[in-house]
Symmetry: C2
Subunit: 272 residues, 2 copies
């Protein structure tokens, strides 16, 4: 397809890069927004242009419009970052907002009882997204933060979500090779499948040093109503000094998960 520019159709824009929603005007706006991920919270105009593959002048225009509206803001040093206005709008996202509202008090109790990291996550395709997290001064530092994505098989909470995911999703994940984060990480599809079965039976799942040599996670499913579909996972992560610590956490964790589930059931029934 030499230069020629045939029919003007050859646009798909492989960019080699990242997202690419195509050559539509709205697409450009979204591409620019997508350039701001966790590793690039603030970038100069030309960085954005580079990362999106858009010409500088186009980027300039789009960024200008986004900024005028408040979706982007500029630091004194000239770098652009996501603006408060966009954050406000997005913070109304029901999938996180309702969950958050309902879950926080329970997470709070859990934190107070344990003083460990308490986390809440949802499944998105074959990945998990952390939606909320409570951590105090006394909790372990984690590599995961609110708004972060993670391959679903890699975390304890993820495996709980996976266990309750549709069959095709499970298959897709089991078919793909699992990354071994530590020597303890379960990567064999057979063992993993057995683990998923066990999770469905036992509810609470203890993930012992699967993601990092020094942490253990306990996770439980959150449903919409006591028996409804699983909509999130609740988890506690703490330092691995013998996973014995997990024992005492099962009960309170499960109780909290039930609490959230019940309240979610009540809430969605009324809302609807």
């Amino acid at each position: 397809m030499g230069r020629a520019r045939p029919g003007g159709t050859a646009r798909v824009c492989e960019t080699g890069g990242v997202s690419t929603t195509r050559s539509t005007a709205a697409g450009k706006v979204l591409e620019v927004l997508a350039a701001f991920d966790r590793e690039h919270p603030a970038q100069t105009l030309s960085e954005i242009a580079q990362r999106t593959g858009l010409p500088v002048s186009t980027t300039h225009r789009v960024v200008g419009e986004l900024a005028a509206w408040g979706a982007l803001e500029r630091r004194e040093d000239g770098a652009w970052h996501v603006g408060l206005r966009l954050w406000e709008i997005a913070s109304g996202c029901p999938r996180t907002q309702i969950l958050r509202d309902v879950a926080l008090p329970f997470m709070q109790d859990l934190y107070e009882a344990t003083h460990e990291n308490v986390q809440l996550a949802v499944r998105e395709g074959t990945e998990l997204v952390f939606v909320e997290r409570i951590a105090g001064h006394r909790s372990v530092e984690l590599l995961t933060g609110v708004g972060t994505r993670f391959p679903i098989g890699s975390t304890g909470m993820g495996r709980v979500l996976l266990a309750h995911a549709p069959a095709d999703i499970q298959q897709e994940v089991l078919d793909a090779p699992q990354r071994a984060w530590t020597p303890h990480t379960v990567t064999d599809p057979g063992t993993l499948r057995a683990q998923l079965d066990r999770i469905r039976r036992e509810q609470v799942f203890v993930s012992d040093r699967q993601l990092s040599e020094s942490t253990v996670a306990v996770a439980a499913p959150v449903r919409i109503g006591r028996t409804g579909p699983v909509s999130a996972a609740l988890g506690i992560v703490f330092t691995a000094r013998g996973a014995g610590g997990a024992r005492g956490l099962r009960e309170p964790l499960l109780r909290a998960a039930y609490g959230i589930s019940d309240e979610l059931g009540r809430r969605t029934r009324t809302t609807d």
Copy 2:
């Protein structure tokens, strides 16, 4: 250049209406997003069209593109709402994210000591935006939630932010009439100005039943470094059974605010 349109500038388009970034393609995208505020977290296509003033077919196209990208999602009942993808991007907003990261552990401690609502807010023009909030089962229900805007003069935290805002902002707020939420609300500009002076001297501010008959708030400024510019306000809200309760809170609140300020100072110095 058709009509000549001097300088080609006459576009601003007052529209009379609501938001309006105007007829540019990107503008439409943003208008659609802006249709999703706290009162309208989920809407049908035609509601969106109505609220934005865009023709249905146009709305349909824009919504479609947003959905394809993940900025919007659709419920089974057909209503649209903000999608997880947008939430992810926006949750990286530095103004809230850094603040949140730093402040949460301190807020946590504060919550544990008091079991009351602990809140964090920033100023945006003459309004305040709640950025984070901790509440357990034992705290009072509040009308403010994370991601909510509020006139800055109306809340205790807002007045603290106002006291440290640039002079022109203060003037603007003082010039506008204050809404009286309760019989106790201070609305007189003179008294208010005196209050601001006092806030600057005493740091901690007690706002007694200013917003609701049944709540008292204590608030303190959060700076960037111990002496840097005020970047947020930290507050505790509790039920008004005699504001005497505020007494014991001053110390821990101030200590937490200092802790956050110090850490923010450290953090921004290193990052830069």
